[in-house]
Amino acid sequence: MIRLEGVEKVYEDGFQALKDINLEFKEGEINVLIGPSGCGKTTTMKMLNKLIDFTNGNIFINDKDISTIDAIDLRRTIGYVIQHIGLFPHMTIYNNVAAVPKLLKWDKERIDKRVNELLNMVGLDPETYANRFPSELSGGQQQRIGVIRALAAEPSIILMDEPFSALDPISREQLQDELLRLQKEINKTIVFVTHDMDEALKIADQIILMKDGVVEQKGSPEEILRSPASDFVKDFIGQDRLQQGNAIPVVDEVMSKEFVSIEEKQSVTDAIDLMKDKQIDSLMVLSNSHQVTGKLSLYDVINQTEQMVAEVMKPFEQNIESGASLSAALHLIKKHDLNELPVVDQDQQFIGIITRKSLIHVMSKSYSLVGNEGK
């Protein structure tokens, strides 16, 4: 984890590039710094591996103050990818990828193995590419090498400064997809600078929107789209994307707050009577503290008339937080093959329930995608 506390930067010429920056980059997350040119993204990033020193404040990496770490040692433990790729033109692809392991004096066998593994990871056949020079590769291939060079010595942190912005749109998309796929395997703490909002929305776990050396807003892509903190943020996101953001339904809009419930301590016979009375085949079960804890369906109660509700009910094992997107809910429902999914607020208090049926109904209505995609 990386933490910036009250970090400021004043350049030698007196220009204050950063003012009171407080940020946290969580482990295993892609943190995207975004903002107009000159807002201080690169400055922020380069302070993390001491390519630029800061004037005030503190930066911690895994709770260690980086001012106590030697700059060279620090850089060898942090991957670094730049916009201009910056491969060493006089070295083969092998030697480019092996650069950091060589600095760390790994033995030859270990380096060979690692280089092969990395080239395969980005779909470049080692046999074909290891002995080529950077100039013999396409731009997209070169930046793949740039990325795996940064990964070579298994750093836990990777800094990427507009890594894909010099590429053509198709290569850019491909590399974004690959980064997301890689990240699932490698699970690094990534700090990623871009000025492209689409890119940020696509890859970010956390977006940090900067303007004139201050953090204007930070949050998940969804949070930023749903509630932009200022007109600047709105402008930067753009009207099109905001509308898209609003079009993404959240679970709250679909969940039902009205359902028939029964308490855990009641008997199954009471439950059957209630179902008959209301003409339904299932009930929500409430705990003593009036929390919904599970479900009781008709199948559970057949031949169980001697029991109490608490003994035969099916407790809920999954839930989803208010404000989450419908696609997240759908994902959970599919993954765990659920019929109902309780919605809870931030304090884990039950506020409603989503059923599989209502979800599919809403999704098919608002997207009419189901038919189109033939799913």
Partner: protein, 213 residues
């Protein structure tokens, strides 16, 4: 036609002596240039790293270069006496400027993004120099070497005036004896040496460039 036959007969009869002079010529140039590389490359690197020292070092090398070669050798003779060493010192001084200047430009010209990448992955300043800046400035250094070699082959021809040898010996004795044949017998190999140095070093320069492209 007659002249050409005469010249080739002379060269054929005296080839042993001419070869000896050629080898001597090459040796003087080689010593001078090797010294110039040993001193000039570090000076060029210092220039590239220090904005303050660069104009000073480059101006001094420039001034040396401006002194006419005969005058420079004559002045050196006052201090070092007659002989082979004095010529080598002269050739060394003469070769300095192209080597310093080209090293300086070569190191300066290294793509700043490549340098940033090297720094960013944790190379020390010395590693940056050895693994990136010097290898990438090799084509420039080779070009400097080429210029220096061609100049040195020429300047070495006046070595006999300060007690040196080489192909100049044959030329000077031709001048003194008004012997056209002797002048050509010295001048042609000297010119060939310059051309070979130019072409040979030019090829290796291109090879480096291609690799770095």
């Amino acid at each position: 036609m007659e002249f050409i036959i005469e010249l080739s007969t002379y060269m054929g009869e005296n080839w042993g002596y001419l070869l000896e002079l050629t080898v001597e010529h090459i040796l003087m140039v080689l010593y001078g240039i090797v010294l110039a590389v040993i001193v000039g490359v570090p000076l060029g690197i210092i220039c590239a790293r220090s904005e303050k020292l660069a104009p000073i070092i480059l101006s001094i090398a420039n001034i040396i270069q401006i002194i006419p070669s005969l005058a420079l050798l004559a002045i050196l003779m006052l201090y070092f006496g007659l002989g082979f060493e004095t010529v080598v010192v002269g050739l060394f001084l003469y070769s300095l400027l192209p080597i310093i200047r080209n090293t300086y430009v070569g190191v300066k010209e290294v793509d700043p993004h490549v340098l940033e990448a090297g720094k960013g992955i944790g190379m020390t300043p010395l590693q940056l120099l050895a693994k990136i800046q010097i290898p990438l400035s090799l084509p420039f250094m080779m070009a400097g070497l080429r210029i220096a070699a061609v100049i040195a082959v020429g300047v070495a021809s006046i070595a006999p005036y300060i007690g040196g040898d080489g192909l100049g010996r044959e030329i000077v004795s031709g001048i003194n004896g008004r012997d056209e044949i002797k002048i050509y017998a010295g001048a042609i190999p000297a010119a060939l040496l310059a051309i070979i140095a130019d072409i040979g070093l030019g090829i290796s320069e291109k090879r480096f460039k291609k690799k770095n492209a």
